[in-house]
Each structure stands twice: as structure tokens, then as C-alpha cells.
Symmetry: D2
Subunit: 294 residues, 4 copies
């Protein structure tokens, strides 16, 4: 297939590389052109504008947030202007449900197709083609895009014909991770104040009922109070809680733990935590409990 790819951060570069390896013709675009060079060396064409990356059957966007996506979609050189009739915009960014709805409407009006296909997995999984793809869109569009999803991930979950449902699933996943961080933070503040070694505690948890990567990763970070450098920065955590709560408000679903998490992120940022990893909210319970920072 002929496919464009807009957004060559660590996630996007990994995915675009795998699309190339699978034999697709890939045209890439990135605001900072230098990031396109490694892919050009692997055979990608480099476009001068978002629209110029939209000449094929489909175009991916993999960008930081709503504003970045809207920045490449609209305008003379944007995706909406560049994409052919029936061609597909595959949005893999973690964006708001509201923006995903607006994109679906805009592409429908322009006679184009739109799939939301956010992913679970970190940059190393993207590079290895081991992502999990959560896709939603019309059955025909998803079928057309299937070979692309196969190239980038180990498994594709099609969750709905309504694209924004996939964005909601992605956001809810980040909400659940943050829930694990907070509950671990509380439990570790408790047993830690009673003198239990926090590393041993994480070992107990992950050896028994909580043997998931998320407990190992975040339990370790909290036990070490190792919140720098940020793998996923605290302001992004706040953003995802905000987007989750906004989507939940539109659907009229109260989420008390998400509300609590939002307050935790605000506390963290108000106290200077902008550069910390989002797991630093897992240190707030100990701080409230009067534990002295090491």
C-alpha cells in the first residue's frame, strides 16, 4: 500500500520503520525534517508538508496532543486538503474523544475515511512491531487498513465502528495505570511507615496476585522514589486525566478515582513537579504521611 506517516517521534519512527519493512511505500513528514532522515535511508520518501504525505491510500498521524493533530489536519497544506476521496486518515495519537469526533465529521464531509487507532506499548515495542493496536472505524476502512496494523503490532483489537471509542479505550488504559500508581503509593506509604522494606513488598505483590508489568515497573519506581528523568512526564498524566474526565462528563459517568488522580497531579505540579515522571504521584501518600524524603 501507499501510505503517509506524519509525526516521527520515538513511537512514530518505530511504526513507520515497520511499515517500510513490510513492503509498503511510505512517505513521511515531520516538522523537524532531520528526524525523517533515518527513515529516508530505509527507503521512505520525505514530504515537505502534511498534505504532500497524503497522496496514497492512507495516512497516519502520531503526534503529541490535540493541538499538534489539529495543526497538521487543517489549512491549505493539511491532511484534509491533501487526502484523496475514500483515502483513510489513521489517527494513532492519544487525543481527546471530542477531537476524534470532530475529525470523523470533517473527513466524512470531505468524502474521506477516518480510523482512530491508538496503540498500547512503549517505543521499544513500536520499534519491534509488537504494539497492541486498538482500532475503531467503519468496517470497510478497518479492513483496508488491516495489513498496516499487522505490520506495526502483534495484535489488533477492533472495538467499535465509532472511531472515538478507540480513543476512549486508550485514555481509560492510562487512567487504570495511574490508578495502580496511586494505590501502590498509598499501600507502600502504609507498610513503609510500619517498617516493611518497600522493595520486598513489591516483590511480594508481584510474586502473588499482582504479577503484571505495570506493578513491577511502577512499584520499583515508587520504592526507589526514582521519579527523574521522566519516561512519561507528569503534565501528560494530568492531560490524560483531564481528557478522561471530559469524555466521562460528556457520557455522564462519574469516576471518583479519576477525580482523585486529577487532584494528585495538580498537587504534584503545584509543588514543582513539572519535570518528574507521572509515577511521582505515587510518592504523595508518603509525603502526606510525613515521611521524610531521602
Amino acid at each position: 500500500m501507499q501510505v503517509g506517516f506524519i509525526g516521527l517521534g520515538r513511537m512514530g519512527s518505530g511504526i513507520a520503520g515497520n511499515l517500510l519493512k513490510a513492503g509498503h511505500e511510505v512517505t513521511v513528514y515531520n516538522r523537524t525534517r532531520a528526524k525523517a532522515e533515518p527513515l529516508a535511508a530505509q527507503g521512505a520518501k520525505v514530504a515537505d508538508s502534511p498534505a504532500a504525505a497524503c497522496k496514497g491510500d492512507a495516512v497516519f498521524t502520531m503526534l503529541a496532543d490535540d493541538a499538534a493533530v489539529e495543526g497538521v489536519v487543517h489549512g491549505e497544506d493539511g491532511v484534509l486538503a491533501g487526502l484523496a476521496q475514500d483515502a483513510i486518515h489513521i489517527s494513532s495519537s492519544t487525543i481527546s474523544v471530542a477531537l476524534s469526533k470532530r475529525l470523523a465529521a470533517a473527513h466524512a464531509k470531505a468524502g474521506q475515511r477516518y480510523i482512530a487507532a491508538p496503540v498500547f506499548g512503549r517505543p521499544d515495542a513500536a520499534a519491534a512491531g509488537k504494539l497492541f493496536v486498538v482500532a475503531a472505524g467503519s468496517a470497510d476502512a478497518v479492513q483496508t487498513a488491516a495489513p498496516l496494523f499487522e505490520a506495526m503490532g502483534q495484535r489488533t483489537f477492533v472495538v467499535s465502528q465509532t472511531p472515538d471509542a478507540a480513543n476512549l479505550v486508550k485514555l481509560s488504559g492510562n487512567f487504570l495505570i495511574a490508578s495502580v500508581i496511586e494505590s501502590l503509593g498509598e499501600a507502600m506509604a502504609l507498610v513503609g511507615k510500619a517498617g516493611v522494606d518497600k522493595h520486598q513488598y513489591v516483590d511480594i505483590l508481584t510474586s502473588t496476585l499482582f504479577g503484571a508489568p505495570v506493578y513491577k515497573t511502577y512499584g520499583g519506581l515508587i520504592a526507589d522514589a526514582a521519579f527523574e528523568p521522566a519516561g512519561f512526564a507528569a503534565p501528560l498524566g494530568l492531560k490524560d486525566m483531564r481528557l478522561t474526565l471530559a469524555a466521562a462528563e460528556d457520557l455522564r459517568v462519574p469516576l471518583p478515582i479519576a477525580s482523585l488522580l486529577r487532584d494528585r497531579f495538580l498537587t504534584l505540579l503545584a509543588q514543582g513537579g513539572d519535570k518528574l515522571d507521572w509515577s511521582a504521584i505515587g510518592g504523595l501518600a508518603a509525603k502526606d504521611a510525613g515521611e521524610n524524603p531521602d
Copy 2:
């Protein structure tokens, strides 16, 4: 070793059976004597009182709650009266930190030793000798009891020389499970109201970051709204949140998620949920969101 065992529910019977298989001489006691018969058939002696089960090197108690433990410990026929000097009371029940402190003091005064050794695992793991034992007590007592722990579990974690630290670790584990139930309940209310299939959603979670037994088990129960019959009844969930919060109050550790969980259990019970499984709190978010029960 010569060892007594008081409390032959599903957990206790499994553990006592494995002590027998490992070659220990076991004297069992249960208020309802009929429950002792299968173990008698495997070679256990049957005692007529708690004290009569305390004639060996150690005695286990594995009972429902604080009141049940206090009921067998005190009085003429109780554990304190029956246990020899230096013999060990191994308390494996999920009891309060406060009671564990009182037991430690009472046994010390009586010249006896005391270990708290609650376990992680369900009745099938108890029967198979696959429990995880979380033990705390004096180094000499724990060393003496080590062969017993080996017979009953796959791994022993010694977390402290202060016995009640083990009770706190156990309680905190149940707090973390309840946190998973609540956060899953919120996430599933959210994506469910957007039309995503709840079983598929659980499949996505457990295939990606949340591949722990606790997510599979409780995600499935919430997706099916299958809260009867109770594996672990809602009033026991409330009890464990209460014990966790009481221990946290003594240590002065605020636990906002535990507070929220306590309120959830109260809501569930106030609305008639006494006979439901504790995972039924995972259905409250959907109810708040106006979802019709099936």
C-alpha cells in the same frame, strides 16, 4: 514437629492436610467437630478444646475474624492457657493490627512465642501447598517454624520481627485488590456506556499491561455482573477496609482510595448487598452512570 491446628474452614483444612503430608504430627480442633473428620482419616488427632490442641511445639490459628481468634485464645481452655513455655502461636487469620499487637504482648507475658503468618492464595492453593506465606516475628521463632511454612506454601516472605507488620501487609494486599475492582468498575462503566464490549475490553487490558490474575478474575466478574454466589462476601470486604483504615489511622497515614472504597462497600451493603461478592462494588460506577441492570 508436633503442631496444633485450630480452625478447619476451607483454608485451614488445606493447610493442615499439607502439614500432615509433610510428616508432622498434627492435632486439630474445630468448633464444629465434623469438619475434623477428613483430617482424622489422614492421621490427625482431634482435640476437644483449643488448649488440647496446644500440646506441641506450635499451634496455628486460622479463623474468620478478630472475635473468633479472641474466642479461642482466652479462657481456661484457650491457647494462652494451653501453650507450653517457648511454644509458638502462629496466627494465619486476617486479623486487625491491633489484635496482633495484643496477642504479641499476651504471649510474651506468658513466656510463649508468637508469629503472625497470614497467607496469600485461595482454598485451592491451600490444598495444593501453593500458598504464599507472609511471616513476621522474632528470628528464632520464624526459624523454628520454617519447616511448617515450607509444607504449606510455595514461598515464605519474612517481612519484620514485629509480628503485626505481616498482618498489615496482608490487609494492604486486600486493599490493593479492592482498588483494582473499583478502578476496573469505573473504567468499564465508562467504555461500556460508549458501546465497547466489556469482555473484549478486559481481554485488551489483560493482553497488554494488566496481565495479572486479579484483572482477569475481577474483570470477568464485572463484565458479567456475576456477583453471586459470593467467593468473598461484601461484608468481609468492608471489614478489611475498616481494619486497613484503623491501622493507617494509628500510623497516621491518610489513604484516600481506601476511604473511597469503604464508602463504596457501605453503599453496596446499604442497598442490600450483604450476600454479594465483594467484587459487586465494581458494579456501582455503572449504576451511578445510570446503566440499567440486566
Copy 3:
């Protein structure tokens, strides 16, 4: 003074009437022109567009929400287009802090002045000229507008030279009222389930420490479960919590009670409460506690 008035709901009509009585020349505008007639009978001129109401020294806007205010401000016939250099836009609507910031910037750019002047008080206080005005803006603008504030209210509080600070004070006031409703709802669910008469309970509270109008009004509504018809509808309560939380997020101030209140409003609306008074969140605690509705 020559002054325009846009938005002739119950609050706006009362205020405009008092401006007339105080001798000011008032030109009114309302989308539904019929509402302007009683004021015309009192001597007001009636304008055909927002811009046409902006020919004097100042123009008030008193509208339902952000969208309504933006609707009259922008465009060819809008306030920005109609207002003279140095003339003042006095915004008395309960709007978002973010919109107030944008209005301040837009008027500054157009060489006009801008005051935020939301009010405390109900329609009867507006009609009687007994409102409390919370004003913020440049000292010269506030001084110019002082005779207008005197005509409409019993007291003016100038809280800042930054207009949006006044909007924040207004929103925080609604947050505090909702806090009273929720805490009263919890307390009354508690004593009510113990058999105490709820009306007598409100009488005790208001006779002792809580002798403020807000306790009398809302305590009575909760005791009677009299949530229809709505004096201030539940969706407006949710809106004000949302605006409060959004402003707090920008300032990085966590507000756990506001988060809880937002969840309460969502629960109320998810269960069909759109037409209820916002005090109906005060009935949720009793519902959670299993109290049967009368």
C-alpha cells in the same frame, strides 16, 4: 450616564429597571424582543442588535453562559464592533475565567475597557436593587462605573484590577453553596436514618452555629426532598463546578470537594435529574444509604 443592557432575563430586567430608576439613559437589547417591553414602558430605548445597545458610556451583558456572551460580543453587530473607544463592557454573567481573560484581551486590543462584575443575589434582590456586586477591572473603569453599581446593589466589592478575579470569586461562591448542599445531605442522611426528624434537625442547625440563609433554604429543600421545580437547575450546577475546576486547574489548585461535587452532579444527571434543582445532589447521600424515596 448612557448605558446599554444586553440580556433581559429575570436578573437583567431587575438590574436594568434600577438603572432607569436611578436616572440613567438605558438602551436595552434582548434576542426575544418581547422581554424588552416592560422596560420600554419605564423609559428604556430598545435596540435592534447588541451593537446598537453599545452607543453610550458602558454596556452590561447579563446572559446565561459563555456561548451566549460570545454570541453577542463577536460579529458585525456585536459589542466589540459597537462599543466606542474607552467605553466600558461590564460583564455580569457567570462565565468562565478563561472567557473573561479573552474578553479583557479583546477589549484592550480594541481600545475599549472591560470590567467583570458578577453579582450575588436572586431575582428579587435584583429587582429591589439589593444585589452584592463583585467587581474587578482597572481603577479608572471601576470608578467610572461606580454610579451604575450603586444603582443596582447594596454594596460593591472591588476585588482586583484583573477582571477575571471577580469571575473566580463568583464561581467559588457557587462552589461553597454546593458544598453546603452536599454536607447537609450527608448529615441529614445520617441523622435521618437514626430516626431524627429532618426538619427539626435543620431547625437545630440554623438556631445554633449555622444561621445563614443558605442553610435554611437548602436544609428545607433537602428535608422535603422538594427538588422540583428547579430554581437553579442541576445542569447549571454541573457547569459551575466544571468552570471552577477548570480555573483551579489553570492555577494548579487541587479542590477535592469540588471534584466530589462534580461527580455528584454527574450521578444526578446520569440518573435523569436534568430538570431537578441543583439541591437534588443533597438527596444522593440518603439514596446511597438505601433510604426509600417517599
Copy 4:
């Protein structure tokens, strides 16, 4: 009437003084006898034991907490031993609902009568005979005690024939005060960070909808961050939240704001606030928001 009075702190001394002034024969007892002397000078007899103060028609207890009350009730020299048949124990202390239930049962078994009659008001109101009395007990007992209540307060509210209902009303009142402190603390953290003067803000609130003593008193303390010396110490605030939540748990009433308040008090105490006034929880929101202490 002949009446005993046990507990001569600031509240008790004021009440006992007014009983004397009203012409009743009063026998007082206090652990520290020196506190009885001013009352002896006014005509009171001084007893050597709690039982010795129980020889009349009724005896009041006005003590710090459950333990103090239980300390004077039980034992050879206690109230239960000293009180005649049909004589009345009037318990005015702020105690737990559970203890009040136990006292009711114990006095019934002993053929004595029991009224719970906690009060609203501070020591100056006690001295002036201006308390509000919240009484519950059998109709005949309350009728007998009516002249005593008249002597000590400006108004008596009889809320139930079940004594502990009065204790619950008293606890719920302290819960509502703490709710005001927390919500004011949040609102003032918010407007304060936006640059609004906190004293002016309190003035606005108390001039408009929130003109109750509780807003004036606590708003001023929070604006000044004047949390020392303690009028009512933070550990007592935690105790009252604990008693409120315990009573609510027995009645199965979830109280999310009370849960939040309990966490606030724990945070305050964990960070060294034992000697602060309970209004210091009203400073935590500003601290979370990163405001520097003065």
C-alpha cells in the same frame, strides 16, 4: 432539685454554676479537686468520688471523651454504683454513639434512667446559660430534667426517645463545622492564588449568603493562618470524624465528605499538627497548591 455534676472543665463549671444560680442543690466532683473550689464558694457541696455525687435526683457527666466517661461510670465508686433507682444520669459529653448505647443498657439494667444531652455552644455560652441543649431519652426522664436544661441553656431540642440519637446529632454538627473549614480552605486557596485578598473574600462571603458565625470565625482563622493556640485541638477533630464515621458505618450511611475530612486530619497530624487548632485543615489546600507559608 438535688443534682450531681461530674467534670468541672470550662464547660462543666459554667453549667454547674448556672444550676446553682437557678436554686438547685448541686454536689460536684472533679478528679482535680481544686477546680471544685469556685463552685463550693457559690454554695456547691464537693464530693470525694463520682458515686458520692450521685445521691440526688440526677447527675450530669461532662467529660473529655469515652474513656473519661467510662472511668467515672464503672467501679465501686462509680455512677452506676452510686445512683438511686429511677435517678437520672444526664450525659452531656461528646461521646460515641456506641458508648451511649452501652450506657443506656447499663442504666436500664440497674433500674436507673439515662438521658444523652450534649450541648452546642462554647464556654462563654455555658457560663452565660446560653447553651443549646440537644436531649434524647424517655419522655418521663426528659420531663423530669427539663428544669435543669432550662437553667443551663437558651433552648432545648428533644430529638428522640433513643438517647444515642442526641449524640449523633452532636457529632454531625462537628462534621458540618469541619466541612465548612475544609470547603472554605479550598475556596480561599483558589481565590488567594489568583491574588484576591483573603480577608476581603471572607467579608464578601459573610456579607452575602454565608452570614453565619461559623464562616466568620473560621474564615478569619484561615485568612490569618492563625492556628495556634488551639481552641479545639486537631486530635479532637480527628476523634469526632472517627466517631461520626463509626456511627455512620453501623447505620450503613456512606459519608464521602467525612471520609475526606478524616484524611485531612490524618495528614495534618502526620505532619506535626497535634498542637494546632482543628481549623488548620483549612490550610492544607493552600499547601497542596504550593502556597508558601508566611
